[in-house]
């Protein structure tokens, strides 16, 4: 499906097509947006700068020293993909959560389940939420635990996510792939960098007609 670009203002949103990267694993379920970015950091009035407080209370101690056992402080992990447990992004609707994750350098989040509002917020900012099966998520966590540098490829066009074939000396194959679902309209927005306002504004007359009816 292609959007009719003739009517679009094309307000720039971050584009996403294909990404191969190492991942940062956060094997915790029900991560709520209060953990992603605590309320006390919501006083900013711009979208920038939230990244340094991403997962603040898990990441830093009371003196703001990095807690060594938290994965974001573990230098052996890096990459643009955040891997997280089931029901990621539940709770508060704060879009600041998506901004913080993006600001910290992530382009995609992979989980076996996303809370609705977070998913919408992420998509509206060009941060791709990839929902995989519980089994595949488990497999990814396992692969990354064994080799911190495991590469994952997310191909939005073909809607596939792949653990890049790692065969251990023992002969064990850590690779594997799965396809994922994404709303066709949202996919098109991500690939082209459109946002919803462009889409509705292009049909403003319909809205005005509706109001009169």
């Amino acid at each position: 499906m292609i959007l009719d670009t003739r009517y679009l203002i094309l307000f720039e949103m971050k584009k996403f097509t294909k990404l191969t990267s190492a991942v940062v694993p956060l094997n915790i379920e029900n991560i709520d947006t209060d953990q992603i970015i605590p309320a006390r950091f919501l006083k900013a009035t711009t979208r920038e700068g939230f990244g340094e407080n991403l997962f603040c209370d898990w990441r830093y101690d009371a003196d703001r020293q990095p807690k060594p056992d938290f994965v974001l402080n573990d230098k052996t992990y890096s990459g643009k993909i955040l891997l997280a447990g089931k029901n990621f992004g539940c709770g508060s609707s704060r879009e600041h959560a998506a901004w913080a994750i993006q600001d910290a350098g992530f382009d995609a989040v992979v989980s076996s389940f996303f809370a609705d509002i977070f998913k919408g917020n992420a998509l509206n900012n060009g941060l791709l939420p990839v929902q995989v099966s519980d089994e595949f998520l488990f497999k990814m966590f396992e692969a990354v635990a064994k080799d911190h540098n495991t590469q994952i490829t997310i191909d939005l066009e073909n809607q596939t996510i792949k653990i890049e074939g790692q065969v251990l000396p023992s002969g064990e194959d850590l690779g594997g792939a799965e396809s994922f679902e994404i709303n066709a309209y949202k996919k098109s927005c991500l690939i082209n960098g459109y946002d919803d306002i462009d889409f509705i504004l292009a049909q403003k007359e319909l809205v005005e007609e509706f109001e009169k009816s």
């Binding site: 499906m1 203002i9 307000f11 094997n27 915790i28 379920e29 029900n30 709520d32 209060d34 953990q35 605590p38 309320a39 006390r40 919501l42 006083k43 900013a44 009035t45 711009t46 979208r47 209370d57 009371a62 447990g85 089931k86 029901n87 539940c90 709770g91 508060s92 609707s93 704060r94 879009e95 600041h96 998506a98 389940f113 809370a115 609705d116 509002i117 919408g120 917020n121 509206n124 900012n125 519980d134 488990f138 709303n183 066709a184 309209y185 946002d195 919803d196 306002i197 889409f199 509705i200 504004l201 049909q203 403003k204 319909l206 809205v207 509706f210 109001e211 009816s213």
Partner: protein
């Protein structure tokens, strides 16, 4: 000055496309679809947009960057609630960033022509408390707010849901949202509630049963005799927490209780408008042959006063129960479960009865309305809080505060050692000074027990206003029914 447009743009159509009955959600949804096209989300018209200081500044900024005006400013209402102090509210806010954010809202509303009920205004209050009490929240409307507890307004039979800041900007620009039509779930609660059990216990019970993700993707309609018997304020408590099971929203079909509540409120329709509105509202119910994607049924009599023991609202139990053991959880979830119990400082199989508490917070958009305050006052009258407990009562709005004073509740609270503060979100999320200190236990009538929600490393136990009041009086977790039996006997 009546500047608020309360009109709903919905025009009802009697039947679904295939001639089958429709659910309440479908009826309201269909009446608001501007355009529906295969392969695209629906363009959904939004009747009312509520905004507050935290999730709006970036959206206003976006509007400035696009060079757009707010499309329908009269359908937008603003208030300052998340950051505001609850003591000496009219003095300049001490905390610089909070002050800036609140000032920013004032400036933005003036620039874009939006009515603001800011600090000092008699209508100021928590956004989900003021909408209903002003008669802005009405059956059949579509309502949104950059706040997940927008589901509260569903108690009136409206489609109301929380949105992110990008969507706030969308509604500013177009008064519409691109939305996928949600799946529908019916949750029926039948029978009679026991003594000491209220709306908060019903919803905590449901969430404990279906988990913090059990409603994801659904719009929930609450029904059944136990729901119908509830007051409007109690219904709001139920709908408020729909998001805590992941649902997009929750709603209840409007009935005489709803109409009686709305009539005569500030912005409610009046005269001929009222008759017209009422005729429409009476068509707002799920048809008998309507199909829900999922139906759940609960027995009200099985519900006890509830309390949470963990760090998501799904981790709740009857107050007499013991904390479920870690090894009874699904294997993959045990790590997260153990982490939650460690954070709370609780053990497997422990009972919470008798556990000392440090703070009691009665407030938030879940339980800060006049009925909540009356219920607490009724209970604490002639009693005194334990010395070891700090007890805050934060009314949901200026109007609730005023009403409490008019009824003399402030005197009862003072005599009982409870502090009645000024309206705002307060310790529900601790964005102002009202924070629970690290490690302390707080029995809270709010809706989230997430790690750090009420302050860094604070430990929250969610409960009803009655259970919270009982904890304040005894200084520990208490089954409020003990008091009620005593008082009876």
């Amino acid at each position: 000055m009546l500047t608020q447009s309360t009109e709903s743009h919905a025009s009802p159509s009697p039947l679904g496309k295939d001639g089958m009955g429709r659910t309440l959600v479908e009826k309201i949804w269909d009446a608001h679809v501007v355009k529906s096209e295969e392969g695209f989300p629906d363009i959904l018209y939004i009747d009312t947009h509520l905004i507050h200081e935290v999730t709006s500044p970036q959206a206003f900024d976006g509007m400035r960057k696009r060079g757009l005006p707010v499309f329908r400013p009269k359908q937008t209402v603003a208030t300052a609630d998340h950051n505001v102090p609850t003591l000496n509210q009219l003095q300049p806010i001490k905390e610089e960033l909070s002050r800036y954010q609140v000032d920013m809202l004032t400036k933005n509303c003036a620039e874009f022509g939006i009515e603001l009920y800011g600090l000092g205004h008699p209508f100021q209050g928590i956004v989900h408390v003021i909408g209903p009490e002003l008669g802005i929240t009405l059956p059949g409307k579509t309502m949104v707010c950059g706040d997940s507890h927008t589901s509260t307004h569903g108690a009136f039979g409206a489609i109301a849901f929380g949105i992110g800041t990008s969507q706030v900007e969308q509604v500013f620009a177009t008064q519409c949202l691109l939305q996928q039509k949600p799946k529908t779930m019916k949750i029926e609660v039948n029978g009679e509630l026991g003594k000491g059990v209220g709306a908060k216990d019903i919803i905590l019970y449901i969430i404990a049963q279906i988990s913090a993700a059990g409603g994801t993707g659904y719009f929930i309609e609450y029904a059944g005799s136990a729901i119908e018997a509830l007051s409007m304020e109690a219904r709001m408590t139920i709908c408020n927490m729909s998001i805590e099971m992941g649902a997009r929203g929750g709603l209840i079909a409007p009935d005489q209780t709803t109409f009686d509540y709305i009539k005569g409120r500030e912005f409610a329709p009046a005269g001929a408008e009222w008759d017209k509105a009422l005729a429409y509202w009476k068509t707002l119910y799920s048809d008998v042959d309507a199909k829900f994607d999922s139906v759940l049924t609960f027995d009200a009599a099985a519900i006890a006063p509830m309390i949470t023991y963990g760090t998501n609202p799904g981790m709740g139990m009857g107050i007499q129960e013991n904390i479920p053991a870690t090894n009874a959880q699904p294997e993959k979830e045990q790590l997260s479960y153990q982490k939650a119990l460690d954070y709370m400082g609780f053990d497997d199989d422990a009972s919470l009865i008798g556990k000392p508490v440090d703070y009691v917070f009665i407030g938030s958009c879940t339980n800060s309305r006049i009925e909540d305050l009356r219920e607490v006052a009724d209970f604490v009258k002639g009693k005194r809080k334990a010395d070891s407990v700090i007890a805050w009562i934060v009314p949901g709005s200026k109007q609730v505060e005023q009403q409490a004073i008019n009824e003399g509740l402030d005197i009862i609270f003072e005599a009982a050692g409870f502090q009645l503060r000024e309206p705002g979100c307060s310790a529900c999320l601790g964005m102002n000074e009202d924070k629970i200190p690290a490690g302390k236990y707080c029995v809270s009538t709010s809706n989230r027990n997430f790690e750090g929600r009420q302050g860094q490393n604070a430990r929250t136990l969610l409960a009803s206003p009655l259970t919270a009041a009982a904890a304040a009086v005894t200084g520990k977790i208490t089954d409020v029914r003990e008091f009620l039996l005593e008082e009876q006997g």
